[in-house]
């Protein structure tokens, strides 16, 4: 009798998610965390430079304006938008609001989130514009 040769499903450890569209979108919003972490690090660095003085702050600003940083920032912006959209999409599943006999329609909850996002973003942009 020959040795036992069980069927082993071949699955790449590093690219398994490329096999299915749903896995790809999952990976896309998981990867957004890399850019969130990078941005938090950049912000903390910016706070230290802000505390240090005008020259240190100017150095931080010129780093922001470096072409390579601009490109990474644009990619990060796309990932932040992906994170926001996927997070809002999941809200009705995580937060079910009951009203009498029925649950509030998920689309209404998501719509409310987008309205709040728009209002908040506009507020920040106006604040930055009048400063």
């Amino acid at each position: 009798m020959g040795a036992r040769r069980p069927y082993m499903r071949t699955m790449s450890k590093t690219s398994w998610f490329m096999t299915h569209a749903r896995f790809k979108t999952y990976m896309l919003h998981e990867i957004s965390s890399v850019f969130v972490a990078l941005y938090m690090w950049l912000l903390i660095d910016g706070l230290f430079r802000l505390a240090k003085g005008p020259e240190a702050w100017e150095a931080w600003l010129s780093f922001i304006k470096h072409p390579l940083v601009v490109v990474i920032s644009l990619i990060a912006f796309a990932f932040f938008v992906i994170h926001t959209m996927s997070w809002f999409k999941a809200v009705p599943q995580a937060m079910r609001i009951q009203q009498g006999e029925h649950f509030v329609d998920g689309k209404l909850i998501i719509g409310g989130h987008y309205a709040a996002l728009g209002a908040f973003s506009l507020f920040v942009l106006i604040l930055a514009g009048v400063a």
Binding site: V36, L43, G46, A51, P54, E58, K65, F88, L125
Partner: protein, 114 residues
């Protein structure tokens, strides 16, 4: 009811996910995308920023954004490590939560100096 030790990281993850979803797109636009094209140069000047961040309420909000953002990213990076085949979850957890904790302390330190 079963008690789970996952409640704390999960709460931080969920709070961080919600805060980052609302705040980060417009915040990144103001800090990173506007300056290269010369937009909001007055708001991004040292004088304006120093005065703005000097407000204790702004400090508290910034600590909330950065702190929760860090914990959110840490939790997702832990899951990412698992998804890319790294099975030493305990080690990964100590590293990502440890770095997030230290970075949160660094944020408090930086804010106290302003």
């Amino acid at each position: 009811m079963a008690r789970s030790a996952k409640a704390v990281p999960w709460f931080l993850f969920a709070a961080g996910g919600t805060i980052t979803a609302f705040v980060l797109p417009v915040m990144l636009f103001v800090t990173n995308l506007a300056p290269p094209v010369g937009l909001f140069s007055e708001a991004m000047s040292w004088e304006t920023m120093y005065g703005f961040v000097g407000n204790w309420l702004v400090k508290l909000v910034l600590l909330g954004i950065i702190g929760f953002g860090l914990w959110h990213a840490a939790h997702r990076l832990r899951v990412c490590a698992h998804d890319f085949g790294i099975r030493a979850d305990t080690v990964v957890a100590y590293i990502v939560y440890g770095v997030a904790g230290l970075a949160t302390l660094a944020t408090i330190w930086a804010l106290l100096m302003i």
